[in-house]
Symmetry: C2
Subunit: 304 residues, 2 copies
């Protein structure tokens, strides 16, 4: 079986029936599954996690984007989270027997259809970006829905697909291939936020740490401890165990123990296998030696 | 999806076409998959690893046992490995969304059919055993095919199902539920076999070690190192990481490093997740947070 994951973000986090109708567009498609979803009323935004065979994923995302265009009107939308479209962003992630190149091709195919058939301007971002200014989602989204009518007409912001002006109610959308993002938090046995902040600085890219780590210190008020909250943006190149070991060493320097960690949301199998592989010093281990993975490999598009 | 694994052993390791015909009986059944198989000409024995939905597994195993009965004649069989039947042993292992109780029930149902429809006497063993003497496979198999005509008529050895005398060419078969067995080897950076033997003794059950570990020291001649070769007979109750840590501590006492480890054959996902969970000190982690596992959960009997 081949799997691509997507976590489209929709600008609706309050009207449950609207989110359900959008999710239903995914559930209707064969060989694609809604793995998870969450809505935030304050952000007024929902994130749906889906995965499936590449063709099915394209179909599901197109139909979901169409449904969101019909049901969400950004002219009447407010929430804490920045946004520029009814469907705000569509990341595509290769997770099993698929490549980055396939996801980039899929983002272009899907983007073209959304632009031409739904009349929504599309910006390709991250690994699909057509210029350096479009790699970062926040750079594309800057100005948000309200300022996009002028931004879209300005130098360098012609969309990659679709009309030269925003969709009046659905705005614009970003589509692109990126790596799997793992939300990984490490808890320290202290209430000293300064220690969490210092360790966060030691591992995060921007401060001289690992290339694919974003990190911040947080207080967990209810537990009286602090946390290093991280986004691991490429677990293949910056693996969890390596960052964990540096945090352990840094915490040790302050005489503070690691009391726990957590992975928020879903994680790809390989990321955990890499941890076991490291600590057990496994020789030549392959995920296809995992019984459940081998069974999954037997399933293929259209049949089982 | 619900999965039961089975690793039936057949007394044929030389005639490739015979093994293939037996494996084909499994491949023909929907929702059951041949995950792996290996034949040993010296042992004159083959092991087929299969997994699938409970009903399919029963059907596949029955048809494979029937095919083995028709193609293998133990009167003309010799090999290094002890054996008592054409199909020698059928272990049933709950691996995903299935329980030990279901596997025991399945062993009884399958055993009854093999006894009544194929006229092969069946002994239930391990977790399915109906008396303490029948828990151990080697205790049942003692005397082998050649001595079974008298053994089967002796006190306490009436089979659980089937006729009161052996099948003239297919002998008898053991069927039972057991835990997943993981073959786990740890390599030491020394050529001193004495150290491997001592450490093996420290972790294995029989010498005072862990309840679910069988261990022996071996030389890896080609690499000039030694290995602690283990069968982990219950990875839930005696997890890999705990045994690994004891080996590390013991090796350290001799000033010897662990240079690697290996898992031979297939392993259930949970066994590796437990390792990652331990070393990362994960809080409340569940295998259903693994993307591939969640996709697999969507597949169910007869549909996907």
């Amino acid at each position: 079986m081949r799997l691509i994951e997507s976590v489209p973000n929709f600008s609706e986090g309050r009207r449950h029936d609207v989110i359900e109708q959008i999710a239903d567009e995914c559930r209707k498609v064969a060989n694609v599954w809604v793995l998870d979803y969450s809505s935030d009323p304050n952000h007024n935004r929902s994130v749906i996690t889906l995965a499936g065979e590449p063709d099915g994923v394209e179909k599901a995302l197109f139909n979901m984007t169409k449904k969101a265009r019909d049901l969400i009107d950004l002219k009447n939308h407010s929430g804490e989270h920045p946004r520029m479209g009814a469907t705000d962003v569509i990341p595509l992630i290769p997770v099993m027997n698929t490549t980055k190149e396939e996801c980039i091709a899929l983002s272009r195919k899907l983007g073209k259809r959304i632009g031409e058939e739904l009349s929504i301007p599309v910006y390709l971002y991250e690994d699909s970006a057509t210029s350096p200014e479009r790699v970062s989602l926040s750079s594309i989204r800057k100005g948000e829905f309200e300022n996009f009518p002028s931004k879209i007409a300005s130098e360098g912001w012609k969309p990659d697909f679709g009309p030269g002006e925003i969709h009046p109610s659905a705005g614009v959308v970003a589509v692109g291939c990126r790596e799997y993002l793992i939300a990984f938090n490490v808890n320290l046995g202290t209430d000293n936020i300064e220690i969490a902040n210092r360790i966060a600085k030691s591992v995060r890219h921007i401060s001289g740490g690992f290339r694919y780590v974003k990190a911040l210190g947080f207080r967990l008020e209810d537990r009286g401890i602090v946390q290093i909250s991280m986004n691991m943006t490429n677990y293949r190149k910056t693996p969890l165990f390596r960052v964990f070991e540096v945090i352990k060493s840094e915490a040790d320097r302050y005489g503070v123990p690691i009391v726990g960690s957590e992975i928020v949301g879903l994680t790809p199998l390989q990321a955990l296998v890499d941890v076991a592989d490291h600590y057990l010093k496994l020789e030549r281990f392959d995920v296809s030696s995992i019984l459940e993975k081998r069974v999954l490999d037997f399933f293929s598009e259209g049949d089982n």
